[in-house]
Amino acid sequence: MSASTSPVLAVDGLSVQAGSTRLVDGVDLQIRRGERVGLIGESGSGKTLTALGILGLLPDGLHATGAVRLAGVAPELLGASERQLAEVRGRHVAMVFQEPMTALNPSMRVGAQVAEAMTIHGTGNGAAARAAIELLGQVRLPDPASLARAYPHQLSGGQRQRVVLAIALANDPVLLICDEPSTALDVTVQAQVLDLVVTGVEARDAALLFITHDLAVVATVCERVLVLYGGRVVEAGTVHDVLTAPRHPYTRGLLAASDLEQVDDRGRLVTIPGSVPSAGRFPAGCVFRNRCPRATVECEQVPPWTGPDRDTGYACFHPYDADAAEPQP
């Protein structure tokens, strides 16, 4: 592994605020070349806002603070001008969204949309059109030359998501961000799309930031993982460590709840009590303490990060032991 090389993406203390409400709170994140990092959490945990914050795509009314650096490109993405960001997006960083139909232009042939991603960043028209067909072939679309002339509505959901992926990979980005790319797809199609994401990233030695709520998907695709809850990273580490020996009670609860083969003596699934609060309603101090079985008075303070570095560790006063009997997935 290239652990010594400087990271492709370095996010320091990224926060996203709407007025006085903090939606994302001090996220630190580093991804090196060729590394695949997952960002997991339930809806409302701030996964998507983190990604949009990195790309400078936050909707009006939200603003980000902190620092986002992309190796070899802009010294600082946060606060860069729209013009500078437009240079970076689609060229050095690309994103795949959950819903391919809204990501594609319904009135433009898909081949032209793939080519456009390249011409915008300076490739000539002819070369871009030829490269587009090659890219559509790379994402294993059948008969790419004629499929390039199709419109998005003529394709199935899985085919559309492949087109979106082809657009994202068109300029060989150093960083690919995928936000729930396979959630809307059937399982067999999901398997193919996940395979294409991994293959595409590996072929380019690019870094991958993969956002999902599905623990099995993240374990299949990624090497490292960050667990987000209430806009904060509550635990991070290698997929193996975090998902076999979780230290934070939230990670442990999430694992237990998603394991459909583990039941209590009444044959019921293990659950986390309550539900994720809406934005701005998270408790002060530890964001998880109102649902946590281990919470004490101490948890009214924000728990400090415990661990060798920001890539590995947890934020909790009462963590589970690493070698304690863990919930076997």
Binding site: E42, G157, D186, V187, L194, V197, A257, S258, D259
Partner: protein, 279 residues
Amino acid sequence: MTPDPILSVRDVHRDYRRPRTSLRRPGQVVHALRGVSLDVSPGEKFGIVGESGSGKSTLLRLIAGIEAPTSGAVEVLGQSVVGRPERQLGFLRASLQLVFQDPMSSLDPRMRVRDIVAEPLVAQRSGDRAWRAERVHEVLTAVGLGAEAADRYPHQFSGGQRQRISLARALAPGPSILVADEPVSALDVSLRAQVLNVIIDLVETFDLTLVFVSHDLAVVRHVCDRVAVMHDGCVVEQGPTAELYDAPKDRYTQGLVRAVPTLRRALAGATAHDLTGRS
């Protein structure tokens, strides 16, 4: 010998005609169901698994009497559902109730929860006002919502709680069959576990027969005793859940089971490529 089925589908076909695209030719015919047969015994938890376009929603619509099959027979509680006017389907409305995937679009945002839950009772002219209020209270408690929920509106609840409201509404007329169409697909992991527990509780408490439709094989495996796999309008394989998952016989089922990412396999080193089954 197995008891008489509570729900029986016999060689059902359903064709749809696509809208015409030419003045000279009628629209193309789509065969949504091609000879589906299945039996569900009383008290059974029966799963239907399939990907989009497999015909599982069409099958549900036929079972619920919302649509008629092109050919074939559908019987619920020994009575035919096919070819009857809505007036004669009272027995079906009282004995079979549905829960849908998206609770937000199946709950009227302008109605209070008490009225939503009482609506099937009102529609079936069951009991008087006081009895209905009593019944609403009863079913809301059964799904784990407090009595104070009755005065609120759907938007004041989280996704998981909304799905509980849908369940309460389905239970209100005292059905013997609960049909759940992807009831947890729109929910987050921790809510999914809560709602699945509620469904299983209800099936036991009220002695229901469950027909559970999902694309998620892991969920169906947890919930159901027996499962039918649908593909392209046909049932390609059916049998006891554990057996079907551990040793699928049909090629399509094999691919489907392999494509589901599981934590256990992933931690043992399975990659995205392994899920595709391509070498």
